[in-house]
């Protein structure tokens, strides 16, 4: 209310109220048009992926080109699913992303709870040590981690991908920040009622953490589904690859004379699940990615 009155006052004083408003409306439409054009440009690569996937040969053979699928067909999908173990790749990715996320979220919730709600010897040092790892690029630890996994005989197993990525600093950070906001009185009440520590955590604290778990699951799943470098290093057999790793090998796969149609079909299959989840859980997605920015 105050805001509206203030704005009118300002307008009266400068005396340009009417003109400014008309100019403002035109400007707003101009802005809207510019933003829409820019948004089309942003979305174009994803659109083009779908168009190429639905066009035989991904349009690379025809001399003319169309900005829309001139003759949409699922031939590219049929071909690549028939000649490559795409279902295996999808299954591997799904297993790694699901199991990895589930375990990692449990680890992060526990750690976040301990770091937020208990004071114990070594807490500060431990938390600082956790946070420093954000600075360390994976390429630095890649070789030693690979040697460890190789020595454990896990190369080519999904567990080689899952285990080293269970420790998720960002997840622990987000969990701790959220748990700091859980009122101590709630914990006290549970303890006075005679609940043990684990029971207090599972029955009293966790039920208040719905939004936190949502963000952790979405973020964890997306990062695992899209992960590339570590799976590239530890997975080798064509049947054992995750979709992104397989996709990266497909561009120079000798099985296809012109790989682009097949590549775009697999690319579509890779983004589609996440895109759908994104459309449904947009708020949690944005919140999750934004909260990685506060680290």
């Amino acid at each position: 209310m105050n805001g509206v009155r203030n704005r009118n006052l300002g307008g009266d004083r400068t005396g340009h109220e009417g003109g400014a408003r008309r100019g403002g409306r035109n400007r707003r439409w101009l802005l809207f048009a510019a933003l829409t054009a820019l948004a089309m440009l942003m979305i174009f690569p994803v659109y083009w992926m779908a168009v190429s996937a639905l066009t035989p040969g991904g349009q690379s053979q025809s001399s003319e080109f169309y900005l829309w699928p001139s003759d949409p067909t699922l031939a590219n999908f049929d071909e690549v699913f028939a000649t490559q173990p795409v279902w295996h790749w999808l299954g591997n990715s799904m297993f790694i992303a699901t199991v990895g996320t589930a375990l990692s979220v449990c680890v992060s919730l526990g750690a976040g709870y301990a770091l937020a709600k208990y004071s114990f010897r070594g807490r500060g040092v431990l938390y600082a040590a956790f946070l420093v790892t954000i600075m360390i690029p994976i390429q630095v630890t890649l070789v030693p981690a690979f040697l460890m996994v190789a020595r454990a005989g896990l190369v080519d197993s999904p567990w080689a991908v899952i285990l080293p990525t269970l420790f998720d600093v960002v997840g622990i950070f987000i969990a701790r920040q959220f748990m700091l906001g859980v009122p101590d009185a709630l914990l006290e009440a549970a303890r006075i009622d005679g609940a043990g520590e684990l029971r207090t955590f599972v029955r009293v604290v966790l039920p208040t953490c719905g939004p936190l778990v949502g963000v952790l699951v979405i973020l964890g799943f997306m990062n695992r589904w899209n992960d590339f470098l570590w799976p590239l290093v530890v997975l080798q057999g064509n049947e054992n690859l995750t979709v992104p790793v397989a996709l990266s090998t497909l561009t120079n796969n000798p099985a296809f004379s012109s790989p682009w149609g097949a590549v775009m079909a697999v690319a579509t299959v890779t983004v589609l699940p996440l895109l759908l989840v994104f459309l449904v859980f947009q708020r949690q997605f944005v919140q999750g990615i934004a909260s990685t920015g506060i680290k």
Binding site: T133, M135, V143, M148, L163, S248, T251
Partner: protein, 311 residues
């Protein structure tokens, strides 16, 4: 305030009184049980590999296996390695090309989409979509779009009557194309973070400036921009870290080529380790990268503190 349990106000040392009571003892163990899995995983998959990596940097290894200690040879070799200097220069170009560009566009979008506009939610979502796609997917899509012979980018240039551009096949263009693509993936992130910050700025401040006769532009520079400074600072650090660690898109689109025109430091680390099988040298390169990251973070923090003191 005294609480009967181990929360918040509990002294770090276990007192004798705690040990008298079994329930209390179980409580004092509880935090270790909760944080235990994370601490173990951290130890096994972060701390040990980091220590081993530091050790490797002082060794010479032929293949995956035991190496011999060579002291600081690996680090001394860096100065005379032309590829290291090239990769440093490429890293600088890539970072300077991506970070400010993505942040300026992200800020402009955030300011624009913070106003009441028709279809605002849909527009925001569209700008955000590139963030959801995996780096590899972005890489293959963009390789296809910027394909010199069949790519839609050159086809569209042809329609307008322009010559084909060797987007990814010429050393002069490849870095530019990569920067373009990475900015495309990064803009949505910058927009979301700036949007969050803009929404927390009270309207009264801008209105007060408006009453004082400040133009829209003046209001932005004198009210909004200073209030966004902490956000800008965080985004700058994050974007630099992202750019220094950018791997997937470059690996898929150019693999560091043509020639070594897009070999950035992180690409060179990977190359040294897994193509040239020089693990020790790769570890030394990796440590240089970490040093740059840490140095940048410290410098940035000091600059921010200084700026706050001056103001």
């Amino acid at each position: 305030m005294t609480t009967p349990s181990g929360i918040a106000t509990r002294p770090t040392a276990t007192t004798a009184a705690d040990d008298d009571e079994p329930r209390r003892r179980s409580r004092s163990k509880a935090p270790y049980l909760f944080v235990g899995p994370a601490a173990l995983l951290f130890l096994a998959f972060s701390l040990v590999p980091i220590v081993v990596a530091i050790g490797l940097a002082f060794q010479e290894t032929a293949t995956l296996g035991d190496g011999t200690w060579v002291g600081t040879d690996n680090f001394e070799r860096l100065g005379s390695d032309p590829l290291f200097l090239t990769s440093l220069r490429n890293t600088l170009i890539f970072t300077v090309g991506t970070v400010p560009t993505a942040m300026v566009i992200g800020l402009a979008l955030a300011v624009a989409l913070n106003r009441p506009l028709p279809g605002r939610a849909v527009l925001r979502a569209l700008f955000f979509v590139p963030m959801v796609a995996a780096g590899v997917v972005v890489g293959v899509i963009m390789s296809w779009i910027f394909n010199t012979d069949y790519g839609v980018a050159n086809n569209l240039l042809g329609v307008v009557g322009l010559d084909r551009v060797p987007w990814l096949t010429s050393p002069q263009w490849a870095m530019f194309t990569l920067i373009l693509v990475v900015v495309w993936t990064r803009v949505g992130f910058c927009m979301v973070i700036y949007l969050g910050a803009l929404q927390s700025i009270p309207n009264e401040l801008k209105e007060a400036a408006a009453i004082d006769g400040a133009s829209r532009w003046q209001r932005f520079w004198s009210v909004t921009w200073p209030l966004l400074r902490p956000t800008t600072s965080i985004l700058l650090i994050l974007n630099v870290v992202f750019s220094l660690q950018a791997f997937d898109v470059i690996y898929v689109m150019t693999g560091g080529g043509p020639g070594f025109s897009t070999t950035v430091l992180i690409q060179y680390v990977f190359r040294a380790a897994f193509i040239d099988a020089r693990m020790g040298y790769a570890a030394a390169l990796g440590l240089v990268l970490v040093a740059i990251l840490l140095l940048f973070t410290l410098l940035r923090q000091r600059a921010t503190r200084k700026a706050e003191e001056v103001l």
